[in-house]
Symmetry: D2
């Protein structure tokens, strides 16, 4: 509403910057590649330089800026602003990013949070969750995670990573080991990167599928090939999509039982499965749920800018 | 703090009433049996009569009373104060209890909530959770449920029953069917009433155990016999306690992943298992949790009055 | 978002009803005259009948309705839903309106609040205060009052009437006695009804003004004649508008000092003074305020329906 | 509850440090003089050194510490942690204290707030305001200010200084000019330092009082001499105490009208006036307030450590 805000969306391959005016309107945006080879300090030096450059180009003094909000695929100790580890940017770990950036930016306010939290803020503030007092943003992508809005505010829990619902355990000591360190967490059965591992395992076991051919080799199979194969009626693809539906339904139902929040907003690459996946997820959810009070399944409404929009929302 | 408050704790066998003064001190309490044969209207007529009697005995006019808080083992649409169904008091269902009582009590303020929520309020306000901004009260008893405190307030979700974490599904379409309507929810493996069903099933399958003898018949086995048998090294009891530990650990870990709340307060009959159960639960939890930031397991500190204390807390 | 909601806006001369669908869209509205001769019970019988009629016309059963939100110009004990007194509807006092209506409406959820609170909810949710975490709605009309939004929620205080800032005292035991029982409260110098009393006093003291002629008698002078006279340069009108500006500026500045909320949204009849009044108020405010951080003065954006919109917002 | 916390209470003459353990128990405290001659950087270097020394003495690594909370008599832009100006430490101004300290303390979490806010947190958490959901801490001392607790949390407003109620204006452009830049703010009539100015003015005008003699000169008169003179029946002292009562009553009543918070907790040097002052303040408050719902006037309960206790509370 007042003063400018800068939202930074850091991903494994690119960094997007957005400058928002006092009415939260995006007045400028910029993308640059992210360099996963960089250590934390030079990595954030680049971020600070770009932010300083934007401030300079727009002739903004610190008093005219609410601060810099940053979303990135990391585990972050929120209060301290310390990054514990980062997906795809493996050198960005055990680093006091907030303290480092505050210093680099001459005392400017800096807030860091993980990408799912930031997406939840964006969809709640300006997207599909508008007007819902409580909402769960459901990231269905390479990983599976939640951004939980309670009483119109993002809930982060004690250390900062509330919403790691994808790592809730369903089959302890069974299944494929996940990056979380456990076997049998929910996302190990249904995330975009994990479902492909199940497929490859079946292929290695000698089961046939058109996906190998579509991808040009088992190792190259992605969720996109899974969709294509599903559309052709490939039995393994049908089986894989059904498995995803089964575990996603449990994931959602369990969150509903625990939190009794009735607005789920889906975002991330798996939304492209569309009718191949979500009607079945809904069907299974409704089977578990013996109550007919309204529960909403919605799709994220914001386009490509949701990352910078949500990052700027960290400052309000 | 100010004005008197009345807390009512309705259970399957008794109803307890507490009168609290302006400093939240219990100045009077009373118990009477609850009659599960009564329909909702005569049942709540009795409650209203007893409340009126207490007000009369203490010469309190409505202006001197904050209201009546009621905890009971029901699914309650919180905003409306409508009871959907009640454990052990099966005739108390589909009933607009709040509206009915407000009328019976001449417009006095009435708030109803479920027993786990009420216990969470009590332990957070005056018991083991004091000073924790976020806390999960873990009812481990005949049933398994949570009372979630977020930002020092009880979180109820959209309809009022946030915390039904015991009904999160772990093995869909497998195992013993629970009252929730599903097979394979967490509590179907580890609650006080459900573990006994697993034991009976094994006995029916011909497996030996000292519990049959201790209880005087398989049908009479309760959690108490399980403890006794465990202490004697009975293999089936050892197996049953290990199963409880396995599922309770998953239950707690999954809540920790979803909410990142690090203070768990245990209450309910299963706390009597003590060292037979909880160190093992902790061990399994720590195995799943690859992070060494503090997570607290505590036991409820309030004695028998927690039900009326928490019911009165509904009014503050 | 979900289920229908009914918002009722009760004023001294009319009652407006709005039915909102699950997307908060107004699907039906209706006005009827309010009868100030009626005692509380028949008055609210009429309200209940109209609500029942709307439900019937739209074939809505209670389960499809979130409840009935009511805004009215009353002092209301919020938790109890008891009306203490009502401006212009003097028979509506000392009445347990919520309990009465809940019974009349078969247990439907009912929430009552005062008209300024309701307007604040409307402007914060859908009007000029959108996106401001903290906001003060400033009712400048016959009376002067505030609706305080803190952390995106209406703050009501302990008993329910936070925002009676117009009755803050500025000149104890001096000036014209206000309905609040005190002399020298802020609104006794600058509200629409009180400024006219100051004008009449001057007229009675023999001072000349074109307002007497414009209104057809001193007793008929209203804020509208004050505007007309001001536009003609009438000295008494100029003096009266300056007095209003002086006291409104203090009123706003004092709220800013106490709450450090920087978004003020003006609504009510006095907004029609427009440039005659508000630039001067702003000038005086800025004189008092020795700090140049942004403070926003905005005008209400919602049209005639703000009363029913805000009343429905009570239910979310 | 968990991890250690450091609370720092910075005043014009001394700095107190407290180390609190995981149960919020004070395990160590230390005082050192504050040097008002120091510029901001060397001043906070001293603070950082002492904090580092305590961590070292207790063999605490950063992971074992929640952070450092600091209370001081400053206007602080809360989110940025920038000090705008400081009473009695006039060189501590326009300084990014948080960013500076975070860097000095190797990324440790640092939160700064003003002394009234910090006292409010202490009294709400552990003192006279325990259990009140809303509370106003009323600092009656050299200055007059409020610390407003809403929904069990300190409310800071948009920029960070909610509670500057002492600077609410009562007689614009009249009276003694206050440090806030205005004449006629409430505290210019009734704070400990300002009442003495009124007394000196009367003395300069030739009015007699025993205070001159008690203090050894008009310039040496303090609130302590005012109490002594009042006890001897000195007419000017009686007049001065009555003036304080008049303005304090308006101050409290106006906050009650605006916020409808009914628990006021008094702290600061003027509480030593005791029965000379507060019964009269209450009498006047009750005169203005035409409603008999309970309003509590309480005195702060924490002893000398309230500053470090409250500063540590900033971290929870």
């Amino acid at each position: 509403m007042e003063q400018y805000a800068i939202g930074v969306d850091i991903g494994g391959t690119k960094i997007a910057y957005g400058l928002f005016d006092g009415e939260k309107k995006l007045v400028y945006k910029k993308k640059e590649p992210s360099n996963p080879e960089l250590e934390a300090e030079p990595f954030f030096d680049q971020v600070a330089d770009t932010v300083q450059g934007i401030l300079k180009d727009f002739h903004l003094v610190p008093e005219q800026v609410r601060g810099v909000g940053i979303g990135m695929p990391s585990y972050i100790l929120f209060e301290e602003g310390r990054i514990l580890k980062t997906t795809n940017l493996t050198k960005i770990k055990d680093f006091p990013a907030k303290a480092y950036l505050v210093q680099k930016l001459d005392g400017m306010r800096v807030i860091l949070d993980n990408d799912t939290h930031v997406a939840a803020l964006a969809e709640h503030s300006q997207g599909a969750g508008r007007g819902f007092k409580h909402m769960i943003y459901c990231a269905v992508s390479t990983g599976i995670a939640s951004g939980i809005i309670i009483n119109n505010e993002l809930f982060r829990g004690r250390y900062g990573w509330a919403g790691e619902s994808g790592h809730a355990i369903i089959t302890p000591h069974q299944g494929i080991r996940c990056g979380c360190g456990n076997e049998g967490c929910l996302m190990s059965y249904c995330s975009g990167s994990m479902i492909v591992k199940h497929i490859r395992k079946k292929i290695a076991d000698g089961e046939p599928t058109v996906m190998t051919e579509l991808a040009g080799g088992a190792e190259k199979i992605t969720a996109v090939h899974l969709q294509q194969a599903f559309d052709r009626g490939d039995p393994m693809a049908v089986w894989a999509v059904e498995q995803m539906a089964q575990y996603l339904a449990i994931w959602l139902y369990n969150q509903y039982e625990i939190l009794n929040i009735n607005c789920f907003v889906f975002g991330g690459g798996l939304v492209h499965f569309g009718d191949r996946l979500f009607p079945r997820v809904r069907e299974l959810f409704d089977e578990y749920n013996d109550n007919d009070l309204p529960v909403y399944f919605k799709f994220a409404e914001l386009g490509d800018d949701f990352g910078i929009v949500g990052a700027a929302e960290l400052l309000y």
